[in-house]
């Protein structure tokens, strides 16, 4: 049923955007982390979205209908060189007095987070609208 499977699609969107938001928050929280268990400064993480056919627990057949959900295909870690700042007194300074900082811009992460939030709200609005349509359908039975 189109409407019920639309709920599944929107739910997948919400889950994906939430994971994205969590990554962005982690990035922002670690904007100045110079020391990690793996060694070196924190490396920025990014999510890769990929569209995916949704299967509902209620469907008997694998429906090749139009419309696909989304999932996080992978989490990519930044592989670029760290940002070096000259701080000779810093405990993590190297021989030349440079400290390796994560290469990320908190302002960009914030803008990304706002976009993730907007997309998340879009999925919530979709669920609300579809839920209303389902309720309207049910009310036909009450006539």
């Amino acid at each position: 049923m189109s409407l019920l499977s639309a709920l599944q699609i929107s739910a997948s969107g919400m889950a994906a955007q939430r994971t994205r938001a969590e990554m962005l928050v982690e990035n922002m929280a670690n904007a100045d982390t110079t020391r990690t268990p793996e060694g070196g400064p924190y490396k920025r993480k990014d999510v890769v979205f990929s569209s995916e056919l949704q299967t509902s627990p209620f469907s008997a057949v694998f429906q090749h209908e139009a419309g696909q959900g989304v999932r996080i295909a992978s989490v990519a870690q930044d592989t670029g060189p760290p940002e070096l700042r000259y701080l000779p007194g810093h405990p993590d300074a190297d021989a030349n007095g440079y400290v390796a900082f994560p290469r990320l811009n908190p302002a960009e992460e914030m803008v990304d987070l706002l976009n993730a939030s907007r997309s998340y709200e879009g999925n919530v609005a979709a669920i609300t609208a579809v839920k209303d349509m389902i309720t309207n359908s049910v009310s036909i039975l009450k006539s």
């Binding site: 049923m1 189109s2 409407l3 019920l4 509902s56 209620f58 469907s59 008997a60 057949v61 429906q63 209908e65 389902i134 309207n136 359908s137 049910v138 036909i140 039975l141 006539s143």
Partner: protein, 99 residues
């Protein structure tokens, strides 16, 4: 004296529309009316059942399509009940007529 010749008047007659009953007049016209009504109700009821089953098993039946078929079945059944009472009371009136 000339003989009286019968005049052939053809008066156009308004023929009443014939009721769609196939049997001989009397009890079986009532019977076939009831049978027709029953089979129609049955068709709608079967459609509704099939629709409900498709919806429940997740085979892609839309909720509103199922709701409409269920209501259609319900309406045809209500109509049948009314028609049945009318047919039965008409039958009883005919049967109770003094001959």
């Amino acid at each position: 004296m000339t003989p009286i010749v019968p005049v052939n008047l053809s008066i156009p007659r308004i023929v009443a529309p014939v009721a769609p009953s196939t049997g001989t007049p009397g009890g079986s016209a009532f019977q076939s009316a009831l049978t027709d009504a029953i089979s129609q109700v049955e068709t709608f009821a079967n459609n509704a059942d099939a629709s409900i089953n498709r919806f429940l098993s997740g085979e892609g039946e839309e909720l509103h399509d199922m709701a409409l078929k269920v209501q259609e079945a319900s309406l045809s059944f209500d109509l049948f009940l009314q028609v049945r009472s009318k047919i039965i009371s008409a039958y009883q009136s005919v049967m109770s007529m003094q001959v």
